[in-house]
Amino acid sequence: MTVQGSPRVLTREFVEALSVEKGEPTWMRAHRDRCFAVFEGARLPRFGPDLSGLDFSDLSYYARPVDPVKRWEDLPDELRRTFNALRLPEAEQKALAGLGAQVDSEVVYRSLLDEVRAQGVIFASMDTAVREHPWIRDYFMKAIPAEDNKFAALHGAVWSGGTFIWVPPGVEVSVPLQAYYRMQTEAVGQFEHTLIVAEPGSSVHYIEGCSAPRFARSALHSGMVEIFAKDGAKVRFTTIQNWSKNVYNLNNKRALAHAGATVDWVSGSLGSKVTMLYPTTVLLGPGARTENLSFTFSQDGMWLDSGARALHRAPDTTSRLISRSVIQGSGKSVFRGTVHVYPHAKGSKAHVECSTLLLTPDAKTETIPILNAETDDVELGHEATVGRVSQDQLFYLMSRGLSQAQAMSLIVNGFVSPILKEIPLEYSIELKGLLEMSFEKAIG
């Protein structure tokens, strides 16, 4: 059977055909089979957003509308224009050590600076990496097993594309690596797998951007990210998603941080119909640290269910979970901040801070902090605030000559500044532009 084609009910035959077409080793074929069985038996999550609009029998589980190219110029016109508008070729020249671009199920473009390649860094498409490096088996879905949730299982069965990064011991990649994910086909499912293995003492910053044109039918993005930060390694993972309002964005992201390692998650969620995203760091070794910075902007008809989890499994570990949610129109935002300190994780520190800014009377929000400590020798802090933009602030800024939309976006920018300043410049400028545009639209 061919794996390309129109929407279908997912079958075991399809999953096998996908593996055959990709020329995968037998372990991966077996892995996909097992994940498919788990998927079939698993229920939808019993918390969070309504997923009834997601039809598993009306999705293209694999789509390859474009062939991979070596140069941007060789992409079809429409796509080239899109990537130009997103300023990807420009960023590649100016600010990145490497760049990958994926359209639907397959990576269509990839580059890596020679000097980074010479450092021994591997930056490859996940499909290629699975064929070329058998040892990946020891990492692939070892941080997030299929049994974790239905979407993890689905991902394991049909994953395609994504990024593999290996950073050799002691190597610091000084400039970020980036991947861009684009969903181009109607009712497509995108299931890229990202695996980062940072060897002891190494460091790397990886950035993901995501977007899609809007279609009438629902699309599904269900990526998985696994990070293995070994002793003393530093990994920063930044995601900015601006999916269109027909996309269900249901991801799994988890990092294992060994002794003295640092893992930072930075997430900006601006789009999608529904998002479920809870980046998790397991602090496995003494002195490991994690920071999770999340910014969500929920508009009419959107439900952004996000959060952060830190599991303290070793002494003297530190976590800081910071979120800023802005809600406009009838949008909804939920933030779930979970910290669990295990009995032997003495001397650990955790801080959870979630602030919400409501721009309209219809805006809905909920914050659900869960802080558990199984030892007394721990410092836990939690703050939550919900506020509205005050008329006084708006008037003050307008009395200085700023329009209402400018005033609103300045206040919102100020509110999210603790996150915004951690986002790479090109993206923070784009974010500011997007915010201002949406206020102009709303205010008229």
């Binding site: 200085r400 700023l402 920018n413 100020g414």
Partner: protein, 240 residues
Amino acid sequence: MPVLVVEDLHVSVGREPILRGVNLALNPGRVHALMGPNGSGKSTLALSLAGGPGYEVTRGRASLDGEDLLSLPPFERARKGLFLAFQYPPEIEGVSLREFLRLACAERGQGFCEFHKSYPQAISQLRMEAFDGRELNVGYSGGEKKRAELLQLYLLKPKVALLDEPDSGVDVDALRLIAGAIRTLAESGAAVLIITHYPRILEHVPLSDVFVLDGGRIVEHGGPELAHRIGEQGFEVVRR
């Protein structure tokens, strides 16, 4: 020719009439004072001219350079050259003073380069070096807020500046600094209106006109000597 003209202005706040027919004209290059007891409507006048929310104009006119002011949204009044220094400026978290001023100056037609020259100049003139990099009004003391308002005034170069109690809560040194800035502003051709209870600040500026507001009307209009009389005898002197 006056630059700002207010005629028979009636303003209500929450249906309660506060201003009951204010007449007033401000001339370019001159410093005017608006005095009056607590609750006489001084701040209401300033806020309704700036277009504050909740200030309902029920009758009357106000014009800037002959153009109607009251039908414009607040930001267009500002872009035409009206500036209100707030008595209680609100705090705007996460927004740097500099970034905010850059935006506001751009709306007043000042280019990037011009701002990058004028900003440090104004900062050093007002001895506000310590403010650079701070957030807009966040954690400022009362006196610091007044100076930050003045910095904005300096950079935005309005045609008409309404200063709502620029002297309250400031020490002697800051008062001199503020008075100096007002002088410079008037010399550059702006019409200035200082709203105050106290004649103290008025001794440090080249004052031309004093208006006294009471019960929502201008009850007295005179020269600097009127401020002296009020300073010595209180507002009783204007009550008949």
